[in-house]
């Protein structure tokens, strides 16, 4: 199947690019096999694989608490949630695969440390309340992004995101339910919930990425309908929803500058510590090394399993041909 990824040196590039951008404007989905700029493909592979890696690494901080969940119901919910994260990674790798990159190559990029994933997962989960807080804040932030991406111009990415959004709403709700419960619970539960909010609030705000002025990719991503909102817009939506709810629950937020702005209807936040953000992105977060090591170990320990099934399938095929 001839797949066309256009580059500016192509004689018909300008013309095709105009058609392509017109299609996006009309709300059409770009599908595998359609003409697209190589840069569109490159940006998508970068974003989708990073997103997939984030889901897969994101299983680790929460997965660590499955064996310590305090009730059978919470345990079941947490297993289902972490499982969904694996599923979402799976859907997203699929979307990237339609652009001609293999899962083997993407995993190799993750495990060799070349690929990035969401920095939030390089923070540790210290108490059970972190599980609720991650659901409420981290998934809350993720949903904002994902809802936007469900409208993305690339068909396979959009479809993956629609499926993910539908599944993810329960992640957010179960987390919120927990934190609200603990906020009204025993002194120890309350303290645990507040401590978790204190630790996760800023990293959650950083999840949307740098401010628009420091985000060089945003312009082209918006023009090509990959993103439909900027980082700051999504961040603002997140704060506007979550800040009042957390305060209403009787908890505090670790931002002395946070205030409601009557004029815009926005909750304005204080300065974000971007030094910390870039430190964690650069590999120096508290859990970067441990997370990657856990993924590497699982991958290495699973190698003989993957080989065994491949060998079995090859033998079956041989038998089938012989018969």
């Amino acid at each position: 199947m001839p797949v066309k990824y256009g580059v500016p040196s192509d004689p018909d590039y300008t013309e095709r690019l105009a058609e392509f951008e017109a299609r996006i404007k009309r709300g059409e989905k770009i599908e595998p096999g359609d003409w697209m700029p190589e840069e569109y493909r490159r940006q998508l592979i970068r974003m989708i694989s990073q997103h997939a890696h984030s889901e897969v690494v994101g299983m680790l901080p929460e997965g660590a608490w499955i064996t310590r969940a305090p009730t059978l119901k919470r345990k079941m919910i947490l297993v289902a949630k972490v499982q969904d994260e694996a599923g979402h990674g799976q859907y997203l790798y699929h979307a990237a695969e339609t652009l001609g990159v293999s899962r083997e190559a993407m995993l190799d990029a993750l495990l060799s440390g070349k690929a990035k994933y969401s920095s939030i997962f390089n923070y540790p989960t210290l108490t059970w309340a972190d599980i609720g807080t991650i659901g409420w804040l981290v998934d809350g932030a993720a949903i904002k992004n994902q809802t936007m991406l469900a409208a993305c111009s690339y068909g396979p990415y959009s479809r993956a995101m629609v499926r993910i959004c539908a599944e993810e709403t329960f992640h957010h709700k179960q987390g919120k339910e927990m934190v609200l419960l603990y906020a009204k619970g025993t002194p120890k539960q309350r303290q645990m919930a507040q401590d978790a909010i204190n630790r996760w609030w800023w990293p959650a705000l950083m999840m949307m990425g740098p401010h628009d002025k420091d985000s060089p990719n945003t312009e082209v991503l918006v023009r090509w309908g990959i993103k439909t909102k900027t980082n700051d817009q999504v961040r603002q939506e997140f704060i506007n929803e979550h800040a009042p709810e957390i305060l209403e629950a009787g908890l505090t937020l670790p931002d002395p500058d946070l205030r409601y702005d009557e004029q815009t209807g926005n909750w304005l936040h204080g300065p974000i510590n971007w030094d910390e953000f870039w430190q964690v992105v650069g590999g120096n977060g508290p859990m970067n090394k441990e997370r990657l090591e856990a993924r590497r170990r699982a991958h290495a320990e699973g190698a003989w399993v993957r080989e065994a099934l491949e060998a079995y399938a090859a033998k079956q095929q041989k038998t089938a041909v012989a018969v």
Binding site: M59, P70, T186, E301, G302, V305, E307, A308, Y312
Partner: protein
Amino acid sequence: MRPEVREALIAKLTALADDEVILAHRNSEWTGHGPILEEDIALANIVQDELGHATLWYGLRQALDGSDPDRLAFFRDAYEYRNCELVELPKGDWAFTMLRQFLFDLYETLWLEAAQHSTYQPLAEAVQKIMREERFHLQHTYAWVERLGLGTEESNRRLQQALDMQWGYAQQLFVPIPGEELLVAEGIVPDLAPIKARWLELATRHLQNSGLKLPINPGYQPTSRAGHTEHLWSILAEMQSTARWDAEAKVW
């Protein structure tokens, strides 16, 4: 229901539930660490089902004596647990986990099929629910044993090692609990002897077809669910740590 039958039924339901809780615990240790994404998801399905089954069995006990399922799971000590020892063994490698799951799923499926016609209606109803899921589990682990057994030399060797380790432990699944004969006599639960015969036949056939040898010396065969391996204390210490951390907490 006569008090001694009721007592026996409570003990049996507890044993059924405890098996599921501890096995789910071991399987859940794989979440996020499986050999490939697809299988991570598959095993997490099994874990959720097992936790669901435990909840059903504890729920039947609750209907008899009012005990709270979460209190039973999170506030009993090791010497009060009544699971078999097979499910306590550390998760080992993927072959170990898949083989244990196969041996357990085959036992459970056969037991459920025989328990369908229980004279105790709540149990018969729970069996119907659980059996649907268990049939799929068995298909899944049946396929895995075949593939690992016939895959590579390494996968066959690892699976054989798992079998050598587990075969004796698995026999405990067919040891009746004290008082179980009362339940059998009342038609509440099935007799384990014919189930064991069928299990031996089917397990042996599938294991051999998958290129494995039954161990000549079956090894240690636990006989009482009051006894445990040295692992259970640690499992419970971890599993119950959050629930027991705040004695005042009413809800989680």
